[in-house]
């Protein structure tokens, strides 16, 4: 009886091709996607047929939480010869806190360390009185504070009255952008974006719009998500 010869096959699979594919995929993802922004509140923007993309530079984003808390996020220019995001943030902070200190002389001084810390934070929004202590907190505590006790104080604007804190921030942004010759980008209509949840009552958005109007920023955009046109 002849022995049945089983041919021994190598179980090794050549992984080179697989590796090629994965590297390609990886490159694709790295180039096309952007990192998710860490935001204190999650909102679902309302659907709209508008197809214009949100600008990714020289942008002031106003985030309105479902309970009416208002946060800001500042992005500088991409072009490195212009205002960078970090400088933008820290200059706005110094400007805004400076004008707050004028009316509140007893407010603690802002240190350079705190300004540096602030320039790394994306979305911010705490009352001015808590600002210095908030910047001194640890990262996790800071996020908690932002979520629970945060929100820039805002109110229906008073004609020719004193600025509320939200307006102080807006004014600081305006001053800094004008200082760097970017004033046109701010008032041109693509400089301010309002992000609010679709279920939010309009009154919350209206307050923000009213304040923007008072600060002469009457052209802005609303952030929406894409919906196809129903025909």
């Amino acid at each position: 009886m002849g022995k049945v010869k089983i041919k021994k096959k190598s179980t090794h699979i050549d992984m080179t091709a697989m590796s090629d594919v994965t590297v390609l995929l990886l490159t694709f993802f790295m180039l096309t996607s952007t990192f998710l922004q860490k935001e204190p509140v999650q909102v679902i923007t309302p659907p709209s047929v508008s197809e214009e993309k949100v600008p990714d530079e020289k942008l002031v984003q106003v985030l309105i939480g479902p309970d009416g808390k208002v946060y800001l996020n500042l992005t500088g220019a991409k072009d490195s010869t212009q205002l960078s995001t970090e400088t933008f943030r820290s200059e706005v902070l110094q400007e805004a806190y400076g004008s707050y200190s004028e009316t509140h002389p007893s407010a603690p001084k802002l240190t350079m360390q705190q300004a540096l810390e602030f320039s790394k934070i994306g979305t911010f929004g705490v009352p001015m009185k808590d600002l210095t202590s908030w910047l001194g907190m640890k990262m996790e505590k800071r996020d908690d504070f932002l979520k629970n006790e945060g929100g820039i104080p805002i109110a229906i604007s008073v004609k020719d009255g004193p600025r509320n804190e939200f307006q102080t921030w807006l004014n600081a942004v305006k001053v800094v952008m004008q200082r760097h010759d970017l004033g046109k980008d701010l008032v041109g209509g693509r400089g301010v974006a309002i992000k609010a949840g679709q279920d939010s009552p309009y009154s919350l958005v209206q307050v923000v719009m009213d304040n923007l109007q008072t600060e002469k920023l009457n052209k802005f955009t609303l952030m929406t998500s894409l919906k196809s046109e129903e025909e």
């Binding site: 090794h12 050549d14 992984m15 080179t16 697989m18 590796s19 994965t22 590297v23 995929l25 990886l26 993802f29 790295m30 096309t32 996607s33 952007t34 990192f35 998710l36 923007t45 309302p46 659907p47 709209s48 047929v49 508008s50 197809e51 214009e52 993309k53 949100v54 600008p55 990714d56 004609k159 209509g189 693509r190 974006a193 992000k195 609010a196 949840g197 679709q198 279920d199 939010s200 009552p201 309009y202 009154s203 958005v205 209206q206 719009m209 923007l212 109007q213 008072t214 002469k216 009457n218 052209k219 802005f220 955009t221 609303l222 952030m223 929406t224 998500s225 894409l226 046109e229 025909e231």
Partner: protein, 220 residues
Amino acid sequence: MAKKDKSRQKKFDTRIDFTPMVDMNMLLITFFMLCTTMLKSQTLDLVLPTNDNINKEEETKIKESDAITFILDGTLDKDGQRSTNGKIYYYEGQPDMENFTLNEIKFGNDKDAIRGMLQKRNKELLDQVNKFKEEWKTGKINDSIYNAKVKEARAKQAEDLNAKRPIIVIKPTANACYADVVHMLDEMQINQISTYQLETLNKQDSTLYEHKVGHALGAQ
């Protein structure tokens, strides 16, 4: 001798096992897929009037008969959630302070919904735009020409003071839902309406509203 030595050199397998490399790449891909987003938010441009006092002469005169005022109102669902489909009321021209007429209308594509109503009002311009769209669909003109043509038609309509065009005033109540307001602004875009405004309710509107709904603004 030296030659013989060389020939005896052990042959190394030049193949490298790529499995760990693939593993690592897969992990990285998973990381990027989970932590990043490809979606970029869209935006809707909005221009509000300035708060500055402007001269009466500088104000654009509009024909009151062309104006339609929409009052957007929100309602609460059974579970107390804000409904995304609130009620919409409208009146044409001046508010009717004698009979307090306030009509109700719905979002949608039907003839008697907002879309149909606005389409009828802006027929002249929409017919032009549809013609361009047809040309664009058949490939006669490309995207940029299409956009330029639509823009030109809109500008022409805006300049021509005698042209029949709707002027829309959107007045959301405090109860209105943000999505509804955006939806309304969308309708303006879909129907190529260039003159519209976002405003707050005045006293007359509130009176009309009160008569229609049966309770004052803000009271539930």
